[in-house]
């Protein structure tokens, strides 16, 4: 029973942190509070019995914070004031969000109750995993032997996205005159 209360408290903390991230005006504060949300998520993964995922989430969160701070620190830190009218008014947005939440509440009742997973496919992985693969970490044996195609696809997606980031950040010689800001670099 204690575990369930801790999970609820962490999830409420994450919702408050996400709300602070979205509404705050200073951009550096927004990046710091999304770091807090990410670390609380890693603690939730630890309480949910997934230590592999907790390690990966902490490390990826640190790297995301470094990348996001790079995007916000060299320039003015203040967010842009929301002026003018947007396409949907606030009242319409609240009505739609209310309808979605009501339907979500009805839909979540058809899931299996929390804490009793079905495990039809995973029972095969747990029973035959040690004999066919020999690894005692069953998550690694799933991602690198039973479902190795998904890991192969993930490595290729990471390759393509990093090549895309490179292609965007490269600058040609004649484009430097068209840029709005001329940036002088010194080491």
């Amino acid at each position: 029973m204690n575990e369930i209360i801790i999970l609820h408290l962490l999830l409420v903390f994450m919702i408050i942190g996400a709300f602070v991230t979205v509404e705050i005006k200073n951009m550096l504060s927004a990046v710091i509070s999304i770091g807090a949300v990410g670390f609380a998520l890693s603690m939730m993964f630890l309480f949910l019995g997934a230590p592999d995922i907790a390690i990966t989430q902490v490390i990826v969160e640190i790297l995301s914070l470094i990348l996001l701070i790079r995007a916000t620190v060299n320039v003015d830190n203040v967010a842009i004031e929301e002026k003018g009218e947007s396409v949907f008014s606030n009242r319409t947005a609240l009505i739609f969000v209310g309808i979605i939440l009501v339907f979500a509440w009805i839909a979540f009742h058809s899931l299996p109750s929390f804490g009793e997973p079905l495990m039809r496919v995973s029972r095969f992985y747990l029973i035959h995993g040690l004999r066919e693969v020999g690894a005692t970490n069953f998550v690694t044996s799933v991602i690198l032997d039973f479902r190795a195609y998904d890991t192969y696809g993930e490595a290729m997606v990471l390759f393509v996205s990093i090549s895309g980031a490179f292609a965007i950040l490269r600058r040609w010689k004649r484009e430097q005159d068209k840029d709005f800001l001329r940036i002088d670099r010194e080491h």
Binding site: T56, I66, E132, D145, L181, R185
Partner: protein, 156 residues
Amino acid sequence: MKGKKQSGMTFIVKTITNLIIGFMMVFGAYVVLYGHITPGGGFPGGVMIALAYILITLAYGRKVVESMVSGVAGSVGDDIGALAIIILGFIGLWIGGTFLFNFLPKGTPFELFSAGHIIIYNLAIMLKVGMSLYIVFLALAILQRVVVTRNENEEN
């Protein structure tokens, strides 16, 4: 009066970086190599090694870290990691009949060399993830001091 230009950060940051880099690299290698026994695997370990190089970049400056692992070497390491995954898959196809077949012998559990080809895949993924995140960080050029001057000809 001008002193000698210091690159990187203060002396305290450099000292702590000296003390902590070895530990980070060894821990990253441990998480990768024992990925089939303890939690971890190729992905967190690769990102840890990339973060070790990023720490050297932040503390000492770009020139020092580019003399250790240059941008070209990082890109080549990235490609070698991706190619190793594909070649090992084709070796599995040739030996076992399906792509990415587990063709190495499975020893006794809880040993380092049990679980077939998982350890080689973890090393290939570590090379790929670590090197690609390192070269993306070099490309974002976080340490260059940006002096911004507006281009006056483009006012209209």
